[in-house]
Structures are given as C-alpha cells and as structure tokens.
C-alpha cells in the first residue's frame, strides 16, 4: 500500500510537469493546428537560462537568500523564454501560416534542432549541476510516503498555474479572443480581434509555462543540459494527444494520467504480466495506453473541442 501511494505521488509530480508543458502544445494546436515541436526545447532553454542567472546572482549577490535567488532566476528565464517564444512565432511560423500543414511542422522540427544546437554552443555538451535552492531532502514521511519540498512546490505551482490559465482563457477578454481565434480566426478577425496579437500571446504564455516547467524539472533532478528538453517534450506531446489535443482540460488530465501510468506501470508491470514484461517497457507502456485510448476515442479522452475547425 505504501508502495502504491509512493508511486502515485511520484506519478503526480512527473505528471504535473508533463501537464504544464502539454498546455503549451495544446494551446498552439488549438489555435493554429500546428504541433510546435520546439516546445520541449523552450523548457530546456528555460532551465539553462535560469541556471546561468542563478549562478551569476550567487556570484554577485550572495546575500540574496535561496528563495529570492530562485525567484529572480525564474523570472529572468520566464522573460527570456517569452521573448524567445514570440521571436520563434514571428520569424519561423507566421510566414507559413497559410502554407500547407507540413511546412510549419517541418519548420518546428528545424527550430527544435536550432535551439538545441545554440544551447550546445553556449553551454556545452556536459551535464550541469542545477543549484539546489529548494531542498531535495525528504520531509518527515507521511503514511510511509517520502516527498521532498521541491516536489511539493512542483505540485502546488503546477496546480496554481493551471487554474490561472483556465481562468485566463474562460474569464478574460484575452481569453475570449483566444477562444474566438481558435474557433475560426478569419471570422474572429472580422469581429475586430487582432489575431496576430492573439497568436503571439498564445506562444508567449505557452513559453512562460515551459520555462517554469524547465526550472522545476531541473530543480527536482538537480541537472540541466542541452538535450534535456527532448524527453519531457515528447511525453508532454503524448499527454496532450492522450487528453485530446486542443483541449486545455485534456492536456492537464493527459499529463497527470501519463505520469501516473508511467510510474505505476514501471512499478507493477512485472507483477501484472507475471514476469513477462519488465521496467524496460516503462516508456512503451505509456504509448500502449495512448494507442488503446486513440483506438476507442480518436480525439483523445476529452475530445478536441475545435475539431470541426476548417
């Protein structure tokens, strides 16, 4: 029982990071129909920029304290990623908005490689140690479950950001404009919505979320390097598809579910399959679930709300 609870906690922590990143995929897809494969690499840039900022702060302002240093590093990285997200949209995707779907897709993959290569030139190929500003030493176990302060922060921050995003989309003018653009951007622009601005805003918000996810990811595992965005990016994309890409609630559900499935899958697959399968199928397990869900619900668990968009 303890083990099951522990696996659930493990899964929820990983799942919240997936969910945050998945939101970025799903927002862009919902509005543009574009799968932004560079999104995972924004997470990586977010982590590395924060690392650099924190190092500089520790060097020049050593009396700042742990939490203010982390917050300052995080803010810098969020701002950098917002600018980066905007720049990518403006230079790489906007010109291709009316091009066949394959063109922006290939461009997205190109941007992903570009970001990785730039990061490799700046930060090298080595693994960097990410400063431990929030402790990774577990607190007193609750019901036999070990949880660290970083993991608690990840759970809380993700939940707050997800609620904030839902409120933003459903309760604000910007959100209404985003929903209108997602439904039909030609009609939205006829109604006086500046769709270019809205699309840019979508990229900026998604990139900010990815930056936060990157910093949390690196704080949790204590590492950062130029290729770290690939796996979380792929998993988050899977989570978005699992939940129903284009659907905010779906991305969150998909992310958490994927985290849980992976964690519990890796923990129990050997027992469930009577020793036939083992934890080397940890990653495949998630994709098997995805396959099964897509067979029965081709638009994902919650469905794509903008599926009928032309």
């Amino acid at each position: 029982m303890e083990t099951l609870l522990q696996q659930t906690v493990n899964g929820l922590v990983v799942g919240s990071v997936y969910a945050l990143v998945a939101l970025g995929y799903t927002m862009v897809y919902g509005i543009l129909g574009l799968i932004n494969f560079a999104h995972g690499d924004i997470l990586m840039i977010g982590a590395l920029v924060a690392l650099e900022a924190i190092r500089l702060l520790q060097l020049h302002a050593p009396d700042l304290g742990l939490i203010p240093t982390l917050l300052a590093g995080l803010s810098i990285s969020v701002v950098v990623c917002m600018i980066l997200g905007y720049t990518i949209e403006r230079t790489a995707y906007r010109r291709l908005r009316n091009a066949p779907r394959l063109a922006p897709l290939i461009t997205a993959i190109g941007v992903s490689f570009l970001l990785q290569t730039i990061a490799m030139i700046i930060w090298g190929r080595n693994y960097h140690t990410f400063p431990q500003l929030v402790s990774t030493t577990p607190i007193e176990p609750i019901a036999g479950v070990f949880i660290t302060p970083v993991q608690i922060v990840i759970l809380v921050v993700s939940a707050v950001l997800m609620v904030a995003l839902v409120l933003l989309v459903n309760r604000t003018r910007l959100g209404r404009a985003m929903r209108a653009t997602a439904e039909n951007h030609k009609v939205a622009s006829l109604m006086g919505v500046d769709t270019n601005k809205i699309i840019a805003a979508t990229f900026i918000i998604g990139s900010a979320l990815a930056a936060v996810a990157g910093v949390m990811f690196s704080s949790n595992y204590g590492i950062a390097h130029y290729a770290m965005g690939f796996m979380p990016g792929l998993k988050a994309f899977t989570a978005a598809v699992l939940g129903g890409i284009g659907n905010l609630g779906g991305a969150m559900l998909g992310g958490l579910l994927l985290g849980l499935v992976e964690s519990i899958g890796a923990g129990y697959i050997e027992d469930l399959s009577f020793g036939f399968l083992n934890s080397s199928y940890q990653d495949i397990f998630a994709f098997i679930i995805l396959g099964i869900v897509l067979i029965f619900r081709p638009t994902g668990l919650l469905g794509e709300r903008v599926a009928d968009r032309a």
Partner: protein
C-alpha cells in the same frame, strides 16, 4: 628474410660489429594527440621502458643479438584513424603491436592486425568483444568488462549485503556488465531481489526505485554511465532508501560526485578495471624506474603497456624467433611476473585473474579499497 638482411647490411653501415645485430621493431598505437594524448604517451613510454630494459639485458633470438626499437603511431582515439594506423604498422614490418587505448579503436584495428598475422596486445581496451572475435593473436593485459562484472557482483554479494537489486541502462555496455554482475551475485551466495531497467537518457528513476525499495535490498547495483548514476543517487536519498550503492567504471568518475551533490556518501562504491599503481606487485619499483627515465608520472596504462611489450618479447624468446608466424602461438603460453602481477592469458586472450579495483566515496572523492 633476404630483404631484411640487405636492409640490415645497409643499416649496419658496415659497422664491422663483433656480433651481427638484428633490429626488431614493435609498434605502439595510441592517441598521441588530442584530449587523451597523456594516456597515449603513457602507453608509449611503458613500451619504451620495457624494450630499453630488454636491450640492456641483451636478448638473443636464433643466434642473433636483437636490438628492439619502437614505432609509435597516433590513432587520435578515432576508429577510422586507428585502421589507417594499423595498416601502416602492418606494412612497415613491425613484429608486434601494443595498443590501442580505446575499445572503439582496438576492435576495428584488431581485424587488420589479424589479417596481417601481427600479434596485438592492448594495454587498455576493456570491451569484451575485442577478444571474442576468435583472432589467434589478440590479447590484453587489462581486465575486461566481464571480469569487472564478476568483481562488482562478488564485492556486492560478499561485502555489501546478500540481497542485491540490479539496474541497467539497456546499452551494450550496461546490459553486458549487468549480466555478469547477476551471475556473480548468484555464484557468491547472494540473491537478486529484482532486475530493473532504465535508459541512458533517463533522468527520473523514482518509479523503479520505489519498486526496489519495496523489495528492501541491501545493495543497489547500477550498470550504466555517470550521468544517470548521479541523479539516481539523489533519488535514492529522496525515497529514504538505506541500501548501499555500487556502479562500474562508467559511474566511477568525478562527474557522479558533482551530479549527486550531497546525496553521495560512504555508502557509494564503484569499480575500475586495473589496480592503482601502489597496489601492483611491481608498482613501486616500476614507478621509480619510469620517473627516472621519462621524468614524468605514470598516468594509468604504462604498467599495462610495459607488461604487454614484455609478453611479446617473452613469447619471442620462448619461440626463439621474432617472426610473428613463429612466436604468435607462444604469447598465449607466457607466464612471468610482470609489474601488474603474473602475466598469463586465458584461451580467449584476456589476462588471467585481471585485477579490478573497488573504490569507496570518502571525503569528496573516490578512494581505492582492498
């Protein structure tokens, strides 16, 4: 033979030597430039010291006094360059080769030496494949990863605890090493609580570690690289697992210490093929001779290349010939006290009882045990 005699006559410059001297060249192939140059030079110097000492003692083969010489080639730690260098050595008529450093260089080069009928003794390459190609004259003086796996399994089961959990990263290295660990754990009275898997790109091990925690092992063996071992140590601490931790040479680096941060403790162990110099039977004396001759410290491989060159020369002495076709068969039969211990090879060409050293984390670094 005729050509050689002519060449000798020319080389001899009619020096009217009292006894005819024949020059026998040994090839050395190692990275002599680039980031591993210091290790390559170490190998070259080991061979130089060996032949100079044999020259000083005097070796007579087939009635002729022999003067050994070295032809050193730079393989740049690169598989492609290694094959070029191997061909050059084969063409230039060396009688045996000590090299290469990297398994990735040794393995492709070994094919060329084999085709040329040239004996090769590697002082540094540990990949088991090198000696599993059924080549007659491919040897190594350093323990391979199979021997390392045995050492890890034995140390884990006999010194660290009976119940062993095993994790590997599904790479050729990690999986191969883990298979040997598993055998050795069982052979030494230990039991495997479970075998888990991850990848060489993973960062999250909480799921498999939680599973391992439930099985309550005494020791966790990780067979993979340092970039995973570091975060893994961190997560072991996160989950409050009290088991000891041991990993192979892939995790026996400073990088692990850096990445694990405050999560690494005296409970962490690792292994490296080979002995630290001060623990080798002939180590202290060798170090003095080496320092006196080259005014440099032994890096790692000089004792192994010294013994590799010695093995070739001892085999020549046993066969009473420097002709590779005649003496190659004798390398497998040599048995003499070298710097690293007794030098003798098994049927495959691996050093018998190859030494593997266990290190423990102490005061900020890996410290050799045993």
């Amino acid at each position: 033979m005729k050509i050689r005699l002519v060449a000798l006559a020319v080389l001899g410059l009619g020096a009217s030597a009292v006894h005819a001297q024949e020059v026998v060249k040994l090839g050395v192939a190692a990275p002599l430039t680039g980031t591993q140059a210091h290790l390559g030079k170490d190998i070259e110097n080991g061979v130089r010291l060996a032949i100079e000492e044999y020259n000083a003692k005097g070796v007579t083969l087939g009635g002729k006094k022999i003067k050994f010489d070295v032809q050193a080639e730079d393989d740049q730690a690169d598989p492609k360059t290694a094959t070029t260098v191997a061909q050059r050595l084969a063409d230039s008529g060396v009688k045996g080769v000590v090299g290469h450093l990297n398994s990735g260089a040794s393995i492709p080069a070994s094919r060329i030496y084999n085709e040329a009928g040239l004996p090769q003794v590697s002082p540094a390459s540990t990949n088991p494949k090198l000696t599993q190609q059924n080549f007659k004259a491919t040897f190594r003086t350093i323990a391979n990863d199979v021997q390392q796996g045995l050492a890890i399994g034995k140390y884990a089961a006999t010194k660290l605890g009976k119940k062993v959990a095993l994790i590997d990263d599904r790479t050729a290295y990690g999986q191969g090493l883990a298979d040997e660990v598993e055998k050795a754990v069982k052979a030494n009275g230990g039991s495997l609580t479970g075998r888990e898997f991850t990848s060489d790109k993973a960062t999250d091990f909480l799921a498999i570690l939680t599973r391992i925690k439930a099985q309550n092992p005494d020791v966790i063996v990780y067979s993979g690289m340092d970039t995973q071992a570091g975060p893994m140590l961190k997560q072991i601490k996160q989950l409050g697992i009290n088991a000891k931790f041991i990993t192979g040479d892939g995790g026996c680096t400073g990088e692990v210490i850096k990445l694990a941060g405050d999560a690494i403790s005296g409970n962490a162990y690792c292994t490296q093929p080979g002995l630290p110099l001060e623990k080798m039977p002939g180590g202290k004396n060798f170090n003095e001779r080496f320092k006196k001759r080259f005014n440099a410290d032994v890096q790692i491989y000089a004792p192994y290349s010294y013994d590799a060159a010695s093995a070739i020369i001892e085999a020549m002495k046993a066969a009473n010939s420097a002709d590779p076709a005649k003496y190659a068969g004798s390398i497998g039969k040599v048995n003499f006290p070298g710097v690293i211990g007794t030098v003798a090879f098994d049927a495959k060409g691996d050093i018998k009882d190859g030494a593997v050293t266990v290190y423990q984390f102490k005061a900020g670094k890996w410290e050799a045990l045993q």
